[in-house]
């Protein structure tokens, strides 16, 4: 009987666990380790953040689901990986600390035959002084954050209804952030709710981003066929900003957030201050805090993980200039470089490099989006790796590994409502450009399309 451990129960990990159990049945063990008791459909946190959904609608307890399926669930935080076991046993193992209220702070070492690291991001608010809900800005990254943000949003609307003018800022809180699409989505949901509340004219709304230009979305922009002409996401996005009266500051690195003031630097080295009454700024991502040790107990974290904390897999990590970036640099099987029975999927794997052109300011500050980490490829990775592992368990360690390529379909709500809401949909396949050096828009447009805002809920 083989044992597979999945660390993390987000889009990637939960998908992997379900496909593993389906493929392996009762003959083998599938174990999920996650510090959270609940599954959270993170994309809907945007709507929690404007008060349109409540927490019950976006999360559900994991344990009952896993019990029904025969998946063993440990509510615990992973603290270390031992790919080569320890002095007692060469079988790979993970060290965990329980967050389960019945076993809080209890430690354990779980052995595995195969391990999937699907631990997702650490929300690195600490990268920018003053950033985050424990400091001076808001977030929608978790349900709890989004609920607090919804409360603050309701309060600012109330004040506008009393006649006060307010300045709202939505964006990313560091020059190296990703998830610009989520910030874009929250911006237009905020704008929509302001109109619904009848206070749009009392609000000044600004989108603050590290993207070089609007429509970059961390992928260098998209090109698409619009009525026989090649149009681009820059024009499409600027059109939406004009239509909805939203201002934008691009190419920005947030240096610090003080109460009511964002301090930023632009690509040309100039600095500025943006006063606000309401600010939702996404944090940059790192890998979760986890160490790796060899069988003797020596720290091998630097070999297993990139400096960002994400796990190195079958990607080409050799430093190279932007002009030499290639889709071939990206992983195919998501297998760890250190151990053939360890995989990293979703946000947990280390990308070889960004996708947008890297830029630094004239003072040397990196202001350029990290590669986007979106749901569709995360789910595809989860399934692909689960099926790879199941095949190896059933057919032997020589069985072929499946490969997953990164396509993305992003559906951005721009305001809820069946008749008066709107949304934008974008598909890109593959995400990585065939050739990076094709000017501002680096995509063959056939498989990459953005649909302008449409009226749908």
């Amino acid at each position: 009987m083989a044992r597979v451990i999945v660390m993390g129960a987000g889009i990637s990990g939960h998908t992997a666990a379900l496909y593993l159990k389906r493929a392996l049945g009762r003959d083998h063990e599938v174990i999920v380790v996650s510090p959270a008791a609940n599954y959270n459909w993170i994309p809907s946190n945007i709507w929690v953040g404007v008060g349109r959904m409540d927490e019950k609608q976006v999360r559900f307890p994991l344990r009952p689901v896993y019990e029904r399926l025969g998946i063993e669930f440990h509510q615990a935080l992973g603290v270390a990986i031992r790919p080569f076991g320890d002095k007692l046993d060469p079988t790979g193992a993970i060290d965990i600390t329980y967050t389960d209220p019945a076993r809080t702070r209890e430690a354990a070492r779980l052995r595995y035959d195969y391990l999937i690291n699907a631990t997702g991001p650490k929300l690195n608010f600490a990268a920018t002084p003053g950033l985050g809900p424990d400091a001076n800005s808001l977030s929608v990254c978790t349900v709890d954050h989004a609920q607090a943000t919804a409360k603050a949003f309701a309060e600012v609307i109330k004040e506008m209804k009393s006649g006060a003018h307010k300045r709202l800022v939505v964006g990313v809180g560091h020059g190296g952030c990703t998830c610009e699409g989520a910030a874009f989505e929250y911006t237009f949901n905020v704008e929509h709710e302001l109109r619904q509340a009848g206070v749009r004219d009392m609000a000044e709304l600004t989108y603050l981003t590290n993207e070089y230009e609007l429509g970059d979305f961390g992928v260098g922009g998209l090109a698409f066929d619009q009525q026989g002409f090649v149009s681009n996401s820059k024009l499409w996005t600027e059109s939406l900003f004009r239509e909805r009266g939203v201002a934008a500051i691009v190419g920005a690195h947030v240096r610090a957030v003080d109460p009511g003031i964002i301090h930023y630097e632009l690509l040309d080295g100039t600095t500025g201050e943006l006063p606000f009454d309401f600010a939702m700024l996404l944090p940059p991502f790192r890998g979760v805090e986890m160490k790796a040790y060899d069988a003797e107990g020596n720290d091998i974290s630097e070999q297993v993980f990139a400096p960002s904390g994400f796990m190195n897999v079958d990607a080409d990590y050799a430093p190279k200039p932007y002009e030499e970036w290639s889709p071939e640099d990206w992983p195919k099987t998501y297998q760890s470089v250190m151990a053939k029975n360890v995989f990293a999927i979703g946000i947990a794997f280390a990308p070889p490099h960004p996708i947008s052109r890297p830029r630094t300011s004239s003072t040397g500050t990196v202001i350029s989006p990290a590669p986007p980490r979106t749901g569709m490829p995360s789910g595809v990775m989860g399934r692909t790796v689960a099926e790879s592992i199941a095949r190896r368990i059933k057919e032997g360690t020589g069985a072929a590994l499946g490969t997953a390529s990164m396509g993305a379909a992003c559906i951005a709500s721009a305001g809820a409502g069946m008749r008066n809401g709107s949304a934008a949909s974008m598909t890109m396949y593959p995400i990585e450009p065939a050739s990076p050096n094709q000017g501002g828009i680096s995509r063959q447009y056939r498989e990459r399309s953005a649909s302008p805002a449409t009226g749908r809920s």
Binding site: E213, S239, G272, P377, R383, T384, A404, P452, T454
Partner: protein, 58 residues
């Protein structure tokens, strides 16, 4: 990249680009609210996503 003292600031450049961006036509605005049209687009987009998901595995 040094700022051209005679050129617009990056913030002004973005504001100008937004101010000059095309706006949707009245027909486009009507089509956004057309339920039959949006139903067709909804199914078309979902079909495209399913094709992408299938292509993503091998």
């Amino acid at each position: 990249m040094p700022t051209d003292p005679n050129g617009p600031s990056p913030i002004d450049s973005t504001a100008e680009a937004i101010a000059n961006a095309p706006l949707p036509t009245p027909r486009t605005l009507r089509l956004r609210k057309s339920i039959p049209r949006q139903i067709v687009r909804f199914f078309s987009f979902n079909a495209r996503m399913l094709r992408m998901v299938a292509k993503g595995h091998s």
